[in-house]
Amino acid sequence: MKSLLVIVFSLIIGGGGDFPDANEILKKVDENLMSKNRITESKMVIYGRRNSRTVTSKGYSEGDTKSFTEYLSPEREKGTKMLKLEDRLWIYSPSTDRTIQLSGHMLRQSVMGSDLSYEDMMEDRELTEIYNAKVIGEETIEDRKVWILELTAKVDDVSYESRKSWIDQERYVPLKEELYAKSGQLLKRITLSQVERLDGRWFPKKMNYKDMLKDGKGTDFIIEKIEFDADIPDYIFSKASLKK
């Protein structure tokens, strides 16, 4: 009788059943990370085997269907622009004065030699919209308690079939993510840091993307300035703005 009480008590206190609802956690993450639109100034530090380089850009995005990025430096990249409308992507190259549309497997190629693919840059849908979530445990990362969420795609047109997210239990932002292919192979690992309170939400300003199929230290994506729900003129998301 005594041992039965111990079992029941331990199930109530620390058993597997006291995890919060995973979809609720994901919803709170979306509330932090998503916005109607945003203007971002960022830099990418790409660590190569021979050298490292920094690429700066200014990006505009609206919902999950429209985004526009202009590369500001270095000189090689300056003036290169990218426009994403729905699932189409155009790149403008000032040196050739050409607008090139990318599609299909080309979208899985690396952006500017970084560990991010065009698909990574383009994917901006709410997590609750594309994944089913399940809490599979908890851990501590950098002295912060996190939930470990296992996300499985519920739509077909998703870049990664499944992912594991380590979500900060207080601030509801991911601190680490692992992205998997349909085969179960780990494709990318993202480490998120410099979580700051911005416009009433928690937001990680530094992300290290590591393509697990490549050697090296990965790519740091650092947000230097971010403005949520800004006033973005419509012409920004038009093909005419590429040649401007």
Binding site: G48, R53, E77, R98, L102, M112, G113
Partner: protein
């Protein structure tokens, strides 16, 4: 004695016709197949050397580890001085710079927007440098389908099938999209000066060929190239010479520097070593099986012939001819039949080999999705060893067959011969 035996062979067709036919078929098959295998392997080796591997190749150690991915970021730097050092140190080898690269070819419409695009397998050569010999080495001039060779910077050749697919005409402008050695995105417009078809499925699929200076600029490969290829002045690959060259060059290799240049031989690339060894092994195996099978058939034929000549041997023994003597004449007869069959077989085999040297077998259907560097038509090749490669086994098989069947002669008891022969 030989004349007497020859008369016997020619006059008694039942004694010689079947063994001669068997030896002829076996020898001609051996010569024909050996000639075809040599030709096909020679073509494959030559094709690989010309397009990809060189007779020897210099790359960085890091590039070598990931060679299949064409990692431009791990290319050789300071190639002009390295090429000069190689030319001075090894003057009997011609050294050329090449860079292979991947990317995308985009074809614009009248508004400069994408009309069509496809993946590109690019190769940059010292195209505008007459002394490099690259145009002859790759048979570029004779592989032109339309247009002309590039005569100035900014011009490129593209694969004819690729041009068809993307509806590109000579004089059209196309844009290459790819990554520089630092990973930056790079775009470059080229004018298509001509279209090309090498007859190598893996090359014809998405080829773009441009001058190395254009590509160095396009990929930020200043004074760099992904590889330096060496070709022996004799024009033929020599594995021993390649190994010696490699050992000499690599003895000073800095093990700590992953970008130090290292040399590879042709056989060390594209799995050619195992491929060539595999073919050699199977060729030897094939000849061995042929000798064994033919010996068994000829043994059987000899036994049948022996039975048919039972009475003849009996009379010869009864007349006092020694068993050894009869056995010797039997072997001599086998040698004569073997020589006749092998000469006819070798002549037929060589005839087919010469025919196949010009006609070949078209295997393009099988190579549609192949990434291996193989010619679409495999041809036979005459080599001096074909003169004896079937001849010797043919002769040996005939002699072994008859030697085995002739052993029966020794079992005959001279004492019972008259009874046996019912004389």
């Amino acid at each position: 004695m030989i004349e007497f035996l020859l008369k016997g062979i020619l006059r008694d067709k039942s004694r010689s016709l079947l063994p001669i036919i068997i030896v002829t078929i076996g020898v001609s098959l051996t010569v024909m197949l050996s000639g075809y295998i040599r030709g096909a392997m020679g073509d494959i080796t030559d094709q690989n050397a010309r397009f990809e591997t060189g007779h020897v190749k210099v790359v960085t150690r890091a590039y070598h580890e990931n060679m299949d991915q064409l990692p431009i970021d791990l290319a050789l730097l300071g190639v002009d001085s390295l090429q000069e050092v190689l030319s001075t140190k090894y003057p009997d080898v011609q050294w050329v710079k090449r860079t292979r690269f991947g990317g995308l070819i985009d074809v614009p419409d009248e508004n400069g927007e994408t009309k069509g695009q496809g993946p590109a397998a690019g190769m940059s050569l010292q195209l505008l440098d007459d002394k490099s010999g690259e145009i002859d080495r790759l048979n570029i001039a004779s592989s032109l389908v339309k247009g002309n060779l590039p005569t100035k910077r900014g011009e490129a050749l593209i694969g004819d099938d690729f041009a068809h697919k993307l509806q590109i005409e000579t004089g059209d402008e196309i844009t290459y999209v790819g990554s520089t050695m630092n990973g930056s995105m790079t775009f470059k417009n080229f004018v298509v000066s001509g279209t090309i078809r090498f007859g190598v499925a893996a090359m014809d699929r998405g080829t773009i060929i441009a001058d190395i200076a254009d590509v160095q600029e396009m990929l930020d490969l200043f004074d760099g190239s992904s590889e330096i290829l060496g070709y022996f002045n004799e024009g033929v690959y020599n594995d021993d010479k390649a190994k010696t060259l490699k050992a000499d060059f690599n003895q000073n290799l800095d093990a700590a520097d992953e970008f130090a240049p290292m040399m590879l031989t042709l056989k060390e690339q594209n799995n050619l070593a195992s491929y060539l060894d595999y073919v050699d092994l199977y060729s030897a195996f094939f000849v061995g099986i042929f000798v064994m099978a033919m010996s068994i058939v000829l043994w059987n034929t000899g036994l049948l012939g022996g039975l048919r000549r039972y009475q003849e041997f009996g009379i010869r023994l009864a007349l006092g001819e020694a068993k050894n003597q009869i056995y010797k004449t039997l072997i001599l007869e086998a040698i004569l039949i073997g020589v006749i069959g092998s000469v006819i077989g070798t002549a037929i085999g060589l005839g087919i080999t010469f025919y196949m040297q010009y006609e070949g077998i078209d295997i393009s259907e099988m190579l549609n999705n192949s990434t291996m560097l193989m010619p679409t038509i495999l041809r036979s090749k005459f080599t001096p060893d074909l003169l004896y490669i079937g001849f010797i086994p043919g002769l040996i098989a005939m002699v072994i067959g008859n030697a085995l069947s002739g052993i029966g002669i020794y079992k005959r008891e001279t004492a019972v011969l008259f009874k046996e022969l019912e004389v």
